[in-house]
Symmetry: C2
Amino acid sequence: MPPALPNRNRQIHLAARPSGLPRESDFALVEAPMPDPGPDEVLVRGIYLSLDPYMRGRMNDRKSYVPPFKLGETMGAGGVGEVVRSNSPAFQPGDIVEGLMGWQDYAAMKAKGLRKVDPKLAPISTAVGVLGMPGLTAFFGLLDVARPKPGETVVVSGAAGAVGSIVGQIAKIHGNRVVGIAGGADKVRHCVEDLGYDACIDYKAEPDIRAALERTCPNGIDAYFDNVGGAITDAVILTINDFGRIALCGQISQYNLEKPEMAPRLFVPILFKQVRMQGFLVFSYADRYPEGAKKLAEWLKAGKIKYRETITDGLENAPKAFIGMLKGANTGKQLVRLAAEN
Amino acid sequence: MPPALPNRNRQIHLAARPSGLPRESDFALVEAPMPDPGPDEVLVRGIYLSLDPYMRGRMNDRKSYVPPFKLGETMGAGGVGEVVRSNSPAFQPGDIVEGLMGWQDYAAMKAKGLRKVDPKLAPISTAVGVLGMPGLTAFFGLLDVARPKPGETVVVSGAAGAVGSIVGQIAKIHGNRVVGIAGGADKVRHCVEDLGYDACIDYKAEPDIRAALERTCPNGIDAYFDNVGGAITDAVILTINDFGRIALCGQISQYNLEKPEMAPRLFVPILFKQVRMQGFLVFSYADRYPEGAKKLAEWLKAGKIKYRETITDGLENAPKAFIGMLKGANTGKQLVRLAAEN
């Protein structure tokens, strides 16, 4: 018997466009009527809200690959939840689903925007982690964009993050030497001891990233999966081998900047080393998601991919968790638990 | 009957490593003994010496894709000349050949380093131009690296240069809208009136390159062939369409800098627009040269590719011509005529 529905819903709205690192005052916790699902819609009780770095970009009023969040409206986000009412033959109350539910406790969602999650396959939070966008981003970005050959050296920045931690493990499965870059001794230890990285550089403790890359990559760098950008990426470009490939997945060091940071131009080494650098968004691989999801599920089931989650409880704490993630406070996937799993 | 050989050869040596734009005092005109070809070597009388921007990089004592020129030694360069003595069954006196002859009037060359040039096919200077490295660079860089689809918009920087002028014309043959970027009204007129560019931007006269690109590329930019780098390339990156492709061929604006110039980081737009940027060197296409050379010769013969040469007479004027080229004084291929064709 599902718990009775409350009368009111809670949402986090964008209250102000942040300047630099967002502050809690840029968000507002708002009470709203409980949504009423229309035809072919279902009402979902959120369980896990996914927090992702790309959301910072959407807080700016700037043209990008997705429209900006609107002031005074609910922040967008993926999430995992339970169907509590259904006006669609495709879903029954009790079904676990994944979709773009937003920063709120309950969401009325079109049935076609939801994906059913099998709670027997893996913990349901993985639907927004290893078995969701972060996993697929890692899979296609590494294997289709960076394309390391077995035996080559792969460097991953944001190595302990939701995407990076999966990139590193897929690269190990793929037969690569894998070197991570992460911030802090805990993350570095996690990468090497839990995730199987061959080495991991602590960029917060390392005075010279380039020297550290040369030390940990005796055969140079062949492929680089970039989640962070900035000076770390500069150091990789100066170190990467001829015909190196760079998959640009994230630039978290840049998202809080009001205007582009000044940095040395590095197109001459990119040219002379015949490097290929390619930006990608996982959405471009939508028609190949089943292929990636199948492999990720196999690896997860076989224990070849491990994952860690940083879980913050309560919608009201989502802004704080988001700001922390932008500062690198999380290890692995950053989630907000909106409610108990059942 | 060939003219009698002089007793002495003249060479241009690297006298000092330049700081910034080279000065004439960085070069020295030196008399040397007439070289004596050994077994399987031929003696070549240089006719056309090829001057190319990449040589500036080799004047620095810096690790790159080719070793630096050595102080006190002859500057390296491609050239076209006439065989005057041959110790190889592959060449006869009177043959016209192309090879890495260096900045000198005569060169003793290994036969296997020379390519025979057919003077009936086209003017022999094209062996270091349209039918040589610049032509092949344009061909593979455009069609294999930038890969525009017919109907797409291609932008070419250094549009009136030895490589750029061929890129623009191949793109027209390929069915693209082609917009050049060049310095000065003469070059702009040459690009549009002689070479068939749909539009050409004069970067020296244009206060806002980005606005000029938006004006001349109503459907945006799909592919960019970059010979210059710097602020021009920044403007293209900020304008380029989603899934745009950038072929990095040259960065002439950067070669005279003592250390990398500071510039705004633009990896966020490269990421969000899913741009592919790729550095390339024509040497990587060596096994496909015959394919490119065949097409270029066809197009040249059919009048579909036109070319212009900037010819400076006399080895002693090579340094001045080289410095001029780095400042953009040339239109089309910069050559030094060492001697009359016969």
